[in-house]
Subunit: 237 residues, 2 copies
């Protein structure tokens, strides 16, 4: 199936889904990662975010700059998509008592769902052109990390880890999300710039999106030949 086909079927769940999923992969940039401490996965139900990264990527006093998330009367909520497209929301705040930035509410559910243990690594990414779109991922302790430094130019080897979409995307992501449904979001962007994303089949393509021409290599847009789930040995960047 060609890119054109995907583009035309942008409102078709299954196809645009897959398409979008890989777009997301291509346009993700790594922010930072953290090796989880026993406290991060224990009964404290919180993840301490290293201050340098917190202040750089998840600014709390968004009076001046980026609004990274929804700030409600219940405090700041950060939404992250995981490797399956599922949306995770965490309360994010600064604890004066410990001078630290933490993810609290929602974190313990993530830890349980992913069976995270001390020493496992969580990493954070965001969409290259939409800083509001955040991603979270994890790998087991001792498993291979990124080959390249964090925050560098994205050269993505799609893997089952990220592309293994095990559940229908809309089903898990849709109505409870504070963000627009990702398909609506996508369509909306395309509509705003009065463009149809151009994806040319082949080993190297150009996608024009958000007013930017992007060179995409084959392994970026297309998933690898059916990775059957996470095997723990893939390289992500």
């Amino acid at each position: 199936m060609s890119g054109h086909h995907y583009a035309r079927d942008i409102h078709h769940n299954t196809l645009s889904l897959h398409h979008h999923q890989n777009d997301a992969l291509a346009y993700r940039e790594s922010l930072f990662e953290k090796s989880l401490t026993p406290s991060d996965v224990g009964k404290l139900n919180r993840l301490v975010i290293p201050k340098q990264h917190a202040e750089k990527y998840f600014p709390l006093n968004s009076g001046g700059g980026d609004v990274t998330a929804e700030t409600t009367e219940k405090g700041m909520l950060l939404s992250f998509e995981d490797e399956s497209g599922k949306c995770w929301k965490f309360r994010y705040s600064y604890w004066n008592s410990s001078q630290s930035y933490v993810l609290t509410k929602g974190w313990s559910k993530y830890v349980k769902d992913k069976h995270l243990d001390a020493g496992d690594v969580v990493f954070f990414q965001r969409h290259r052109f939409d800083f509001h779109r955040l991603f979270i991922g994890r790998r087991r302790r001792g498993e291979a990390s990124s080959l390249s430094a964090v925050s560098q130019e994205a050269r993505v080897n799609t893997t089952a880890y990220w592309s293994g979409l095990t559940t229908p995307y809309r089903q898990e992501h849709a109505s409870t999300s504070s963000y627009p449904n990702i398909h609506q979001e996508y369509s909306q962007y395309v509509g705003e710039v009065a463009e149809t994303p151009t994806v040319v089949a082949g080993s190297s393509r150009t996608v024009r999106l958000f007013g930017v021409n992007l060179e995409c290599h084959g392994d970026v847009v297309e998933p690898p030949p059916c990775s059957d789930g996470y095997n723990g040995q893939h390289i992500y960047y």
Copy 2:
């Protein structure tokens, strides 16, 4: 001394006090009780009130019904008289996060004052004809409870536990209370109905109060022959 004597001396502190105290006993109805958990007497400084009882007896959204207490800018305050006539005020509120009703401010002082431990029981009562008048009492872990069910017809065996008035009533109860001074309150009621409470000495008497004739048995109005303090074996209802 006869009931008439008490009635005539309604404005005499010591005597009318005693009289009133026993009236209160007769006209109290039990609401509910709770066996205190370690948290209820620990550092959390709060008492969780079982939701069913909270919503039934201490309604917070008093838009429709009884106003049980004063609602200030500092939240709702409930005032309770204890066994000695002392007035205890507690902040009463609903915690959205845990969906529970709690007594907070003031509760820790009560726990300390009464030396309450986990397993001890606190119970709540109100005046049969004045739902604004609330009472709080406690008994030690393992001590005899009510013989009859909560909220049933009052058959009160006065005991040292409730009748042991150890401190002058007005001194402890008066100025800080949001309720009228109980003597003023009493006099006011009597005045309103243009009656003098009639208490006939003997083993069975009739008291007309608030327009209602009440049959009172000897052990209701008069204390038992000098209980010399709480011995833990009295039955209250």
